[in-house]
């Protein structure tokens, strides 16, 4: 037995030694480890990181973004917004083809944007798109019902994959189209093999329209749901990159590994905010003073520095602090227990109250640990907190979507432009029973509605920033949500990797420049 195992081990080591350098010499293979399980690979009808990562490799999009929030040419080599903001013209590159060799035309782009508008869960991305004209094969004219400042960002790889109309436009339901799991794409990598829940194997697209790209021969996404097994795979070189890593222990452990580099860059677009939401329809929480008292009692710094061991950054408002729209001057509620007690007394709860806190099942450190900290901390201002665990996501989603909660810990993404990921939480017309990540706080403020609706159509960046600044001041005073921290997403990767994507979309961006160095 032991002889056999030694022989096996020797054979495997030999094989690893023999194959590894050969693979790396010519483009090479990048193995990405992920805990995220994609349902399928088509980001046109599915949001989220799990589908986004492979989808952005398989499909190209009209524009792409680097770390400056400025649009860059991709399938569109140039673009222009009309004076009145009601139409946007995209000029497509010539000679681009899908993975099956068919040319990528304006028809395909128009079809894809309409498909995403009608079937993607983020309705606000393309809701103002009325019609799309295709005067010639290289020109796309998008007509809008109102100016739409979020449009260019929504044309990013993660949000606007360009699909072949001849495959996806055959009349089958786009949400369950068989090609979603076996897509013909337009991006730098082509699907070779997809084993749901296990692995996605992508091969280089030799006819990619951007000269000299991609650099890698192959990208393999390995799904390892158990994070300790995943860390071992990163440590022993079985995997080369681990994006969306949020656990402080994971981050601290991989920081110590010599051959790995760790970065927190590449998550500004996703803008993941961990927060404590209030059900403002609850009689106990309808008084703003109670919510403010809780805000004054909770120590954001303790959570980020101690509970998260310094890996996460504090988040003071509804717009991620790394966004150009974030307003620095909003109230931050420095811990002040006396003030908190006074506010409780003013609100008529001098004798305290009982509250239940739910939390979204997810990384313990971001959710459960914080919920338990709230229990001890809020006791200091007379609030008796019961932490109510949910055995699984559907249970939690049922409670929060059904407005059957008082406080809940939640993680919500900004998705680049406030129109896409921020408005939904605060607009009063988005208070919808049974829908998670809508305005489940039942928060309603006429001025906020007005500001958000104005910002959604304001094409002047500076004026738009002013509208968002006022919005942030108001919600920071009303505290329908107490924002705690930006989820500390980090990417760990082999130090020999070059050009690891660090733009606003991080690894939800085509990895056509990633390569193996020495």
């Amino acid at each position: 037995m032991s002889y056999f195992m030694r022989a096996v081990k020797a054979a495997v080591l030999c094989a690893t030694a023999l194959t590894a350098p050969i693979a790396h010499a010519d483009g090479g293979t990048l193995v990405i480890a992920s805990t995220q399980v994609p349902r399928h690979l088509n980001g046109s009808v599915q949001s989220g990181l799990a589908t986004g990562l492979p989808s952005t490799q398989i499909f190209a999009s009209p524009l792409r973004y680097d770390e400056t929030w400025e649009p860059q040419p991709y399938l569109a080599e140039s673009w222009e917004t009309s004076e009145d903001g009601l139409s946007v013209t995209l000029n497509l590159v010539e000679g681009a083809t899908f993975h099956d060799g068919q040319p990528i035309t304006s028809e395909d782009v128009a079809f894809s944007i309409m498909n995403t508008r009608d079937h993607h869960p983020f309705k606000s991305m393309f809701a103002p798109v009325e019609t799309i004209d295709t005067p010639d094969a290289q020109t796309v004219v998008i007509h809008l019902s109102q100016p739409h400042p979020a449009l260019l960002l929504a044309l990013s790889p993660a949000l606007a994959p360009v699909l072949p109309k001849h495959v996806f436009g055959d009349g089958q339901d786009p949400k369950s189209h068989p090609a979603n799991s076996a897509p013909v794409g337009s991006g730098p990598f082509m699907l070779d093999e997809f084993t749901p829940g296990e692995a996605i194997v992508l091969k280089k697209n030799p006819n990619f329209f951007m000269e000299g790209r991609p650099k890698l021969d192959e990208i393999i996404v390995r799904i390892i749901k158990d994070s300790s097994a995943l860390l071992i795979a990163m440590e022993n070189g079985e995997a080369d990159m681990y994006p969306f890593m949020a656990g402080s222990q994971e981050i601290r452990r991989l920081e110590k590994v010599d051959h790995l580099a760790i970065t927190s860059e590449g998550y500004a677009g996703i803008g993941p905010i961990n927060w404590l939401a209030f059900n403002t329809a609850s009689p106990k929480l309808s008084d703003v003073r109670v919510r403010q008292a809780i805000a004054y009692a909770v120590d954001r710094g303790f959570i980020t520095k101690a509970l998260h061991r310094g890996v996460s950054k504090p988040q003071r408002g509804p717009i991620i602090e790394s966004s150009p729209f974030f307003d620095e001057t909003i109230p931050e509620y420095k811990v002040d227990l006396d003030k908190a007690r006074a506010l409780m007394a003013e609100a008529g709860f001098a004798d305290g109250m009982e509250l239940t806190v739910d939390y979204i099942p997810g990384p313990k450190e971001q959710q459960q640990t914080v919920a338990e900290y709230l229990k001890s901390q809020l006791k200091k201002i007379g609030i008796e907190v019961t932490v109510r665990a949910a055995p699984d996501f559907p249970t939690w989603a049922g409670r929060v979507g059904g407005h059957d909660f008082e406080l809940t810990m939640d993680v919500v993404f900004n998705w680049g432009d406030p129109v896409i990921g921020v408005h939904r939480t605060y607009l009063s017309d988005n208070i919808r029973q049974g829908v998670i990540w809508s305005n489940t706080q039942s928060y309603s403020n006429a001025r906020v509605d007005e500001l958000l609706n104005a910002a959604a159509v304001e094409m002047d960046e500076a004026k738009r920033a002013e509208l968002y600044a006022e919005f942030q001041q108001i919600v920071a005073t009303d505290v329908p949500v107490y924002w705690i921290n930006a989820l500390p997403y980090h990417t760990a990767y082999d130090k020999r990797l070059q050009n690891v994507p660090n733009g606003i979309w991080g690894t939800l961006h085509p990895m056509d420049m990633v390569s193996w160095g020495e």
Partner: protein, 324 residues
């Protein structure tokens, strides 16, 4: 023999029908709405979208109608579409049944061979040191939960003695290597999960074969064989073990179902890409058709294993061949 087989097959089919109906009802009784999970995975949804999802997946029909439709589809060999993955349940299971069978059979063989060998050795000197050790090992092996053993082995082999891979079934970087290397790689990955799964049953077989052998070794014909000067090895493995093996065979068939349920935990701990892990993940996702499909296949495997056991039992024991 033929009538026996036909009767067993009919019983097996009835049993499967019962399993399908029970599973269907049990799963639907669990709280949680699959439409919310799907919508959640998609990034939130509107009421219209939730309604559309429920419509798409046939969740708006009364339960009894859903059951009827499902049974009809199963009879036609259609286990439905996964709620979560954009694929048919049959294709998902087809990708995973191989790894599960490999794991379960490896564990079965490991536990029977090693367990029986230990038991036989222990039975030779029932009060000796080896016998005592086997008893202690068997008690511990039987008592510890399989996931704990798995985690301990992972800790041992991940950090202290990194000889075996602790997760997955194959090194992804070897996927283009020659088949012999890939086979060796899979064998290498199989060691820890197979051993973890085997350990409980190994302990049982050791106890069982020890007891059974002790009984047989006391029989007259063994004394006669020894008196004739038959070598001890022949006495043990030829004369005694043949008879002592009958209960082992019975238990092996019965244990098959337990092995499959044990595989669920072991696959989860070791990230083994089999049906067990698919079942575990599907339960969390409320992916009814996939859970039902996995249970269907697992039950079918158990039913087949039991029929095979009955048959092999009749082959091994001449006394049973005549009658029913």
């Amino acid at each position: 023999m033929t009538s026996f087989l036909i009767r067993r097959l009919v019983y097996g089919a009835l049993l499967m029908l019962g399993v399908v109906v029970l599973n269907f009802l049990l799963i639907r009784m669990a709280p949680g709405d699959p439409a919310v999970v799907i919508a959640g995975e998609m990034g939130g949804a509107s009421e219209e979208m939730l309604a559309a999802i429920r419509q798409d997946y046939g969740l708006t029909e009364p339960l009894i109608v859903q059951l009827g439709i499902y049974l009809g589809n199963v009879l036609r060999g259609d286990l439905g579409q996964s709620f979560f993955f954009n694929q048919s349940v049959v294709s998902l299971i087809a990708q995973r049944i191989g790894p599960t069978i490999l794991l379960v059979l490896s564990a079965q063989v490991l536990s029977i061979v090693i367990g029986t060998a230990l038991g036989v050795l222990a039975a030779r000197k029932p009060s000796g040191l080896l016998s005592g050790l086997v008893s202690v090992f068997a008690t511990i092996g039987y008592a510890v939960p399989v996931f704990w053993t798995g985690i301990m082995l992972i800790i041992l082999f991940a950090s202290v003695l990194p000889v075996f891979p602790v997760e997955g079934m194959a090194s992804i970087k070897l996927r283009d290597a020659p088949w012999i290397i890939r086979a060796a790689d899979i064998a290498h990955h199989l060691v820890l999960p197979a051993f973890t799964l085997a350990i409980i049953y190994l302990a049982q077989y050791a106890r069982l074969s020890r007891a059974s052998m002790m009984e047989v070794l006391g029989a007259d014909y063994i004394r006669t064989a020894r008196a004739k000067g038959t070598p001890e090895r022949t006495v043990l493995f030829h004369h005694a073990l043949r008879n002592a093996a009958l209960p082992i065979l019975t238990v092996a068939g019965l244990q098959f179902g337990n092995l499959i349920s044990g595989a669920l935990l072991v696959e989860t701990v070791f990230n083994w890409p089999g049906m067990g892990r698919l079942a575990f993940d599907s339960i969390l996702r409320r992916d009814y058709p996939t859970i039902m499909g996995v249970l269907f296949f697992a039950s079918a495997m158990v039913v087949v294993a039991n029929i095979l056991t009955d048959l092999s039992y009749r082959l091994a024991d001449p006394r049973l061949r005549g009658g029913a």
